[in-house]
C-alpha cells in the first residue's frame, strides 16, 4: 500500500485523537483543577495555548479529510464476528432478558433509580429504598430509554432499515442522540480518570447548584458541538444501515471502554467515599456508563439482526450456508452406504 493510502486511512484516527485531546485536556483541567489565585493566569495562558494548538491542528486534519474524503478502516475484518452474532435470534431475546434482569435486580436490591444498578450495586453498601420501579420517575425513565432507542433507529425517517442512501438531514435525530450520548460518555470517562489519579477534589466544586448546572450544560453543549461533526463524517455518503451501525458501534465501544476503565477504579476508590458515593468520579462514570452501555446494546443487537435478515434476503444461498453451519453432517463411507 502506498504511503499516501496509509495516511488517508489513518487520518480519521488522527482527527479522532486530536478531537479527543481537545475535549479531554481542557475539560480535565477546568472541571476539577486545584488552581490557586497566583498561578491562575499562567495556567489559563497554557490552557488557551493548548486548546488553540489542538483546535488548529484538528481543524487542519478535518479540512484535509473534507478535501480528500474519509476512508474508514476496512469493516470486513470484523464481518465474520458480526455474522456469527447476528445469525442468532437469541441475541435480541438475550437483550430483552438482560434489560428485564436489570430491572428485576433493581427491585430486589431496592435501588432508588433503576438506571443506577451498576453504580449503586458496586458502590459502598448503605440503606436502600424500597421504592424502586414504583415511582412515576422510574416509568418515565423507562419510557425515555425505549423512546430514545426508537428515535435513534428512526433517525428522522421511517422506522425501517433500508438500503437506500438517505439525505444527511435524515440522520439528524440519530446524530443528535449520538452526540449527546458521546458527550456524556467523554465527561464520565474524564471523571473516572480523575478519580483514578485521585484528583477529584470535592472542595474545589462550586457550592451553588446553579453554577454546577450551568457548567454541566456548557460542558455537554461544548462536547455536543464537537461530536456532531464526527457524526456527520461517519454518516456522509453511506446508506442507512451502515451509518447507523457506525454510530451504534462507536456508542457501544465508548460505553464499554468507559465501564472497563471506571469499574476497576471504583473498586479501589469506593472505600474513600463511603459517606458520599456520588463524590467519586468513577461512581458517576458508572452511573452514566452502565445505562448507556445497556442502551447502546439495544440498537446494536437490532441492527445485527436486521443485517442478517437483509443478507438472507439478498444473498442467494445465504440461508442454506447458515443452515449448513449450524448442522452436523454425518460422514457416510461408501461401505456403509452400500449396506
Amino acid at each position: 500500500m502506498k504511503a499516501g493510502g496509509v495516511l488517508h486511512r489513518a487520518m480519521p484516527t488522527i482527527a479522532g485523537v486530536l478531537i479527543a485531546l481537545a475535549i479531554c485536556v481542557p475539560v480535565s483541567m477546568l472541571v476539577f483543577s486545584e488552581l490557586d489565585v497566583e498561578s491562575k493566569d499562567q495556567i489559563t495562558t497554557s490552557l488557551v495555548a493548548t486548546i488553540a494548538a489542538l483546535a488548529i491542528s484538528g481543524a487542519g486534519v478535518l479540512a484535509w479529510c473534507v478535501h480528500r474524503g474519509i476512508a474508514w478502516s476496512d469493516p470486513s475484518r470484523l464481518s465474520p464476528l458480526w455474522s456469527w452474532l447476528g445469525g442468532r435470534r437469541a441475541l435480541l431475546v438475550g437483550y430483552v432478558l438482560i434489560v428485564g434482569a436489570w430491572a428485576a435486580l433493581c427491585v430486589v436490591l431496592g435501588m432508588s433509580t433503576w438506571l443506577e444498578l451498576l453504580a449503586e450495586g458496586l458502590g459502598p453498601s448503605r440503606t436502600r429504598s424500597t421504592a424502586a420501579l414504583t415511582s412515576w420517575q422510574d416509568w418515565i425513565l423507562a419510557a425515555v430509554f425505549v423512546a430514545t432507542q426508537a428515535a435513534f433507529l428512526w433517525s428522522g425517517g421511517k422506522l425501517r432499515i433500508g438500503a437506500s442512501s438517505p439525505k444527511p438531514y435524515r440522520f439528524a435525530v440519530s446524530a443528535a442522540i449520538f452526540s449527546l450520548a458521546m458527550s456524556i460518555l467523554v465527561a464520565g470517562l474524564v471523571l473516572a480518570m480523575l478519580e483514578g489519579v485521585d484528583r477529584m477534589d470535592v472542595r474545589s466544586r462550586p457550592e451553588d447548584p446553579a453554577e454546577i448546572g450551568q457548567f454541566l450544560l456548557a460542558l455537554l453543549l461544548g462536547n455536543w458541538t464537537i461530536w456532531l461533526p464526527i457524526a456527520w463524517f461517519a454518516l456522509r455518503d453511506v446508506d442507512r444501515p451502515t451509518g447507523l451501525s457506525r454510530l451504534s458501534g462507536m456508542l457501544l465501544a465508548g460505553s464499554w471502554i468507559e465501564v472497563a476503565v471506571a469499574l476497576p477504579i471504583e473498586l479501589v476508590a469506593r472505600g474513600r467515599h463511603e459517606n458520599c458515593p456520588c463524590a467519586s468520579g468513577s461512581w458517576i462514570a458508572l452511573a452514566v456508563g452502565g445505562p448507556l452501555l445497556l442502551w447502546s446494546l439495544g440498537p446494536a443487537a437490532y441492527l445485527l439482526y436486521r443485517r442478517e435478515r437483509t443478507l438472507n434476503a439478498r444473498t442467494p444461498g445465504h440461508a442454506k450456508r447458515l443452515l449448513a453451519r449450524r448442522s452436523t453432517k454425518i460422514r457416510v463411507t461408501p461401505d456403509v452406504e452400500a449396506t
Binding site: 497566583e38 470484523l78 483514578g196 485521585d198 472497563a260 476503565v261 476497576p264 476508590a269 449448513a324 453451519r325
Partner: protein, 317 residues
C-alpha cells in the same frame, strides 16, 4: 511454513496468555489490599508524628543534637507540596526527609525517600483515630507478621519495607518484579501475546482451506460440552486484555491514592493515557482475533462436515 505450526504456536501462546491473566489477577488481589494497608500505615505514622509535637503550630526539628522550632507554613494547595523547599524538615534514617505543612486547616506530612519516591499523608480519620498512631502501627505490623519495635519510626520502616520493597516472584520463571511495575509489564506482555496469536491465526487462515490441521479444541469443539469449552476458551481470550488492563488500573489507582496524588498533571495524564491505550488496543486486538477464530472455526467445520471425495478406483492392470 505449514498451518500446523502456526496453529500449534497460537495454541501454546493462548495457554500462556491465560496463565499470565491469572497471574495479573493474583498480583492485583495481593497488591491492592497491601497498598491500602500502606496508606493506613502512613496515616498512622503521621498521627504518631503529630502526637509528639508539643506546640500545634510549630514543629520541633532536631539538628546536630540541637533543637529548633520551626513554624508550619500555610499553603493554599497541595500542588505546592511538589516543591517543599520551604518550611521545617527532619531527616529520618530509612524513611526520608519529612516536611510538615498545612492546607486549609489540615496538617500534612510529606516524605521524600532516598530513592526519589514521595508520599503525603494526613492524620487517620476520626474512625481510625480511636487509637493512637503508634498503637495502630503496632497493629499493622502484627497483621503483617512483623515484630513491632519500641520506636514507631522503626516499626513504620519495617512496614514500609515489607509493603513497598518486597518484589513479586514469579515461581518457575525465576523472575522477581517490583510490585507496582508488574501489572504494567503483564498488560504489555498480554497485548503482545494477543497480537502474536492473532498473527498466527490469520496466517493459518490464509494458508489453509480448513483441512484437518493441528487439533485445537478452540477450533474443533462444535457439539455439547466441547462446544461450551471452546466458547469458554474464546471468551477467555476476548476478556484477557480487559482483565489485565483492569488489574493495571486498580493497582495504578491504589498507588496514586497511597502516595497522595502528588504527581504532576503531565505524569498523571501520561499514566492514564497509557492505561487507556492498553485498554483500547487490547480490546481491538481481542475483537479482531475473535473474528479470525470464528472464520477459522467455520472453515474447519465446513471441511469436517463436507462429504469426502470418493476414492479413486484403481484401474485394472
Amino acid at each position: 511454513v505449514s498451518a500446523d505450526r502456526y496453529l500449534g504456536a497460537a495454541r501454546t501462546a493462548s495457554l500462556l496468555l491465560l496463565v499470565t491473566v491469572y497471574l495479573a489477577v493474583d498480583i492485583a488481589r495481593s497488591n491492592v489490599p497491601r497498598l491500602l494497608l500502606l496508606a493506613d500505615a502512613r496515616g498512622a505514622f503521621t498521627s504518631a508524628f503529630f502526637e509528639q509535637l508539643v506546640d500545634d503550630d510549630k514543629v520541633l526539628v532536631v539538628r546536630n543534637g540541637q533543637s529548633e522550632w520551626w513554624g508550619i507554613p500555610e499553603v493554599e494547595s497541595r500542588s505546592h507540596v511538589l516543591k517543599p523547599q520551604f518550611g521545617a524538615h527532619q531527616d529520618v534514617p530509612g524513611i526520608g526527609r519529612l516536611f510538615v505543612m498545612r492546607e486549609q486547616g489540615a496538617k500534612y506530612l510529606f516524605a521524600q525517600r532516598r530513592d526519589g519516591r514521595r508520599w503525603i499523608a494526613t492524620r487517620l480519620d476520626s474512625a481510625g483515630a480511636a487509637i493512637g498512631g503508634e498503637a495502630r502501627l503496632r497493629d499493622i505490623a502484627l497483621e503483617l507478621s512483623l515484630e513491632p519495635k519500641d520506636d514507631y519510626h522503626a516499626t513504620f520502616r519495617a512496614i514500609e519495607n515489607e509493603l513497598i520493597d518486597r518484589r513479586v516472584e514469579i515461581s518457575g520463571a525465576g523472575i522477581a518484579l517490583r510490585s507496582d511495575l508488574a501489572p504494567w509489564l503483564i498488560a504489555l506482555f498480554n497485548l503482545g501475546l494477543l497480537i502474536l496469536i492473532r498473527n498466527h491465526v490469520r496466517r493459518a487462515l490464509d494458508i489453509t482451506d480448513g483441512e484437518e490441521e493441528e487439533p485445537w479444541l478452540l477450533l474443533d469443539g462444535h457439539v455439547g460440552l466441547e462446544r461450551v469449552a471452546a466458547l469458554g476458551w474464546l471468551a477467555a481470550l476476548v476478556t484477557a486484555p480487559w482483565i489485565s488492563s483492569a488489574t493495571l488500573l486498580m493497582t495504578l489507582a491504589a498507588r496514586v491514592h497511597v502516595d497522595g496524588s502528588i504527581s504532576t498533571w503531565a505524569t498523571d495524564g501520561a499514566l492514564m493515557a497509557s492505561a487507556l491505550t492498553l485498554v483500547i488496543a487490547g480490546g481491538w486486538v481481542a475483537l479482531t482475533l475473535t473474528a479470525d477464530v470464528v472464520s477459522l472455526r467455520a472453515e474447519r467445520r465446513s471441511h469436517l462436515t463436507s462429504a469426502p471425495a470418493a476414492p479413486a478406483e484403481e484401474e485394472p492392470a
